[in-house]
C-alpha cells in the first residue's frame, strides 16, 4: 500500500466514522438514558439498567403515549395515502398530457410550499375553529396534505418523466385505456418514486410540530411530537427517562417503514424498456 492510498483510506475512514458518530451519537445517548433508571448517573455514578421507562411510558394512562402514537399513525398514514394518490395522478398528467399551462402548474404548486408554516397557522386556526375542526384528526390531515403535496408531486414528476413516452403509446395501441396504462405500466415502473414520496410525506407528517401544537388541544388529536413535548409540563420536573423511552419508541415505526420500503426504492427498474 502506497503512502497516498494509506492517507486516502485514513481520511475516508475517519470522516465516515465522524459522520456516523455525529448522526448516531444522539440516538445512542437517547437509548442509553431511556434504559437507565436515573438521568444523572454520570454525576452520581450509580446506575441500573432496565426497561422500566418503556414499561411506564406504555402502561401509564396519564401519559397517553399510545393515544399520541395512534393519532400520529392515523394522521400520517391517511395523509401519505391521499397525497401519494393525488400527486401521482397529477405527475402523470403533467408529464404526459398536453394542456395549456402544463409547465406553469408545477411551479405554482411549488410556490405554495414556500409560505412559512408560521405565516398561515394563525389563519388556519381561525378557519378550523369556525368549521369546528380544531382538535380533530382532520385539523392536521388537511393542512398536511396541502403542505406535503408539492414535494410529492415534484418527486413523482421526476420519476414519471424518466419513463419513455413510447411505453404509453405502445400500451394505448395495445388496447389499454388511460387508467390501465397508469396502473399496469406507469405505476409499476414509477414505484421507487411513489414509495420515496410516500415515505417522505409520512416522515414529514410524523415529525411535524407547529401545526400539531397549534391546531390540537388534547390527547384525542395530539400527535407524538407534541405529546412527548408535553411530558415535562404534566409533571413539573423533566422526566428524562420517560422522554427518551417515548422518543425511542416513536422512531420505531419510521425505522420499520424505511426497512420495508428501502428495497423498493432502488434504481434500475427501467432496464430494457427502450434502447439504452
Amino acid at each position: 500500500m502506497t503512502r497516498e492510498t494509506m492517507i486516502k483510506n485514513f481520511l475516508i475512514f475517519s470522516t465516515g466514522l465522524f459522520l456516523l458518530a455525529f448522526t448516531l451519537g444522539p440516538f445512542i445517548w437517547m437509548l442509553w438514558i431511556s434504559l437507565a433508571d436515573r438521568a444523572d448517573f454520570l454525576v452520581t455514578g450509580k446506575v441500573e439498567y432496565s426497561f422500566s421507562n418503556y414499561y411506564q411510558v406504555l402502561s401509564a394512562h396519564s401519559l397517553h403515549f399510545l393515544d399520541y402514537l395512534t393519532n400520529s399513525l392515523i394522521i400520517s398514514t391517511i395523509t401519505a395515502v391521499v397525497v401519494t394518490f393525488f400527486s401521482s395522478m397529477a405527475a402523470y398528467a403533467v408529464s404526459r398530457m398536453r394542456f395549456p399551462g402544463r409547465s406553469f402548474v408545477p411551479l405554482l404548486i411549488l410556490a405554495m410550499s414556500m409560505f412559512p408554516q408560521i405565516s398561515i397557522v394563525g389563519y388556519l386556526f381561525e378557519m378550523f375553529s369556525k368549521a369546528g375542526l380544531i382538535n380533530s384528526h382532520m385539523a392536521l390531515i388537511l393542512p398536511y396534505i396541502a403542505w406535503t403535496i408539492p414535494i410529492a408531486l415534484w418527486i413523482n414528476m421526476s420519476y414519471f418523466t424518466q419513463i419513455p413516452l413510447d411505453l404509453d403509446k405502445a400500451a394505448l395501441v395495445d388496447g389499454a385505456g388511460r387508467m390501465k396504462v397508469l396502473y399496469k405500466i406507469i405505476f409499476p415502473l414509477a414505484l421507487p418514486g411513489i414509495f420515496s414520496s410516500a415515505l417522505l410525506v409520512f416522515i414529514a407528517c410524523f415529525n411535524e410540530f407547529l401545526f400539531a401544537i397549534m391546531l390540537t388541544i388534547d390527547y384525542t388529536a395530539q400527535t407524538l411530537p407534541v405529546g412527548i413535548a408535553l411530558f415535562q409540563g404534566l409533571h413539573g420536573e423533566i422526566p428524562w427517562g420517560n422522554l427518551m423511552a417515548a422518543s425511542a419508541l416513536a422512531s420505531v415505526p419510521l425505522v420499520i417503514l424505511t426497512l420495508i420500503f428501502q428495497r423498493y426504492i432502488v434504481a434500475g427498474l427501467m432496464g430494457g424498456a427502450v434502447k439504452g
Binding site: 411505453l167 405502445a170 430494457g272 424498456a273 434502447k275
Partner: protein, 371 residues
Amino acid sequence: MNATKITIKNLAKSFITFRGRVDVLKGIDLEIEPGEFFVLLGPSGCGKSTLLNLLAGLEKPSSGELYFDQELVASATGKFSGPFERDISMVFQSYALYPHMTVEENIAFPLTNLPQVPAPEVMSAKVRETAALLQIDHLLDRKPAELSGGQRQRVAIGRAIVRNPKVCLMDEPLSNLDAKLRNEMRAHLKDLQKKLGVTSVYVTHDQLEAMTLGHRIAIMNNGVLQQVGTPVEIYRAPINQFVAKFIGSPTMNMLTGALLEENSALYLQADGLRIKLPEATAASLRAKNLKQITLGVRPERLYVKSEGEQNLTLPVSVIENVGPEFLVYSFHKQGQIVVRTPEEPTGDNLNLALDAEHLHLFDEQGNRISC
C-alpha cells in the same frame, strides 16, 4: 387473412407552439391497398412519423379524413376512433417493451385488453405460436433487460402481430440495430409480412430499407407527398430533384447549366464542365425551347469510354475501392460527381459517355422534364 385498405383524404396536421402554427402535414391524399407493404420515406422532420401517428389514432387530424376500408376512423371535426378501435398495432423504434413484464407477458398484453379476454390456455398457446414464428419461444420467461437488441425487436414485433390486427404500423423499427442484424431482420420482416398478409405501413429515413421492403413507397418532404410509386418507378423516373437525390446510393449526380447549340450539337455548360447531350435528348430539349436545365445521371449510368463517342471529360479527384467495383469522385463547383465502374481507372482524367435513356432532366423549379 385480415387485409384492410387505407384511404387518406386531404389529411393535414398543425401544431400550435409558442412560435406560432407549424404545419406538419399539408393535404395528404393516399390510398394503401389491402395487404400492401407500404413505406413512408423522407428526411427527419418531413412529417412521416406524424402521418403514422394519425394512422395509429395517437393524434387527431387538423383537417381531412381517414378511412379503413369503408369506415371513417378519423376526421377533424367528426368521428375519431382510438388505436384499439381501429384494430391497429405498432412497432416502435425504441421497442417500447414493458420492462417489468416477461417476454410472455409483453406479447400477451394486447390479448388481455380484448373485449373478451381469451382463456389462459388459449392466450398462452397464441403467445407460444407467435413466439415460435419469431424464433423467440425459448425466451418467454426472460425480462426485456436480459435480451439483446435483435431479440427485443422480435418481442416488439410479436406483441404487434399476436392479435392479428387489421393494420400493422412500424416506426423505424430497425434503426436501433447494428448493420448486420438490420439486414437479417429486414429480410425476416419482409417474409413475415408476406406470410401474414397484413396491411403494413413502415416509416423510415433509410432509402435502402424503403427500396428493399416496400411494395410501394411514398416519399415525403416538408409535410408534402413528393411521389408515390413502386421502388423501380421511383428509382427510374423520380418526379423531381428532391426524390432523385433521396433515392439511390451514392446519390444521383446533378449538374445545372445553360444549354448551348454548337456545330449542330447541344451542350450543357455547367461551371466549366461541358457536356455533349445525346442526340435523342437534344432533339426533345430543342423542341421544348429551354434555356437552362439540371441534368441528373446516376453513378452507374456514366460509362467510362476511352474511344468513340464521348460526352464529357472529368478530372479524377479520389478513387474508392468498394470491393466489386470502384467509385471515382470528381470534385466540382456544384458538388461532387461520382462514377461507378467495374475497372480501376488510370490517368488524371476520365472520358465518359452518356445514354439518352438514363438521363434525368429537371427544369428550373426542380421538376422532371419528360422526354
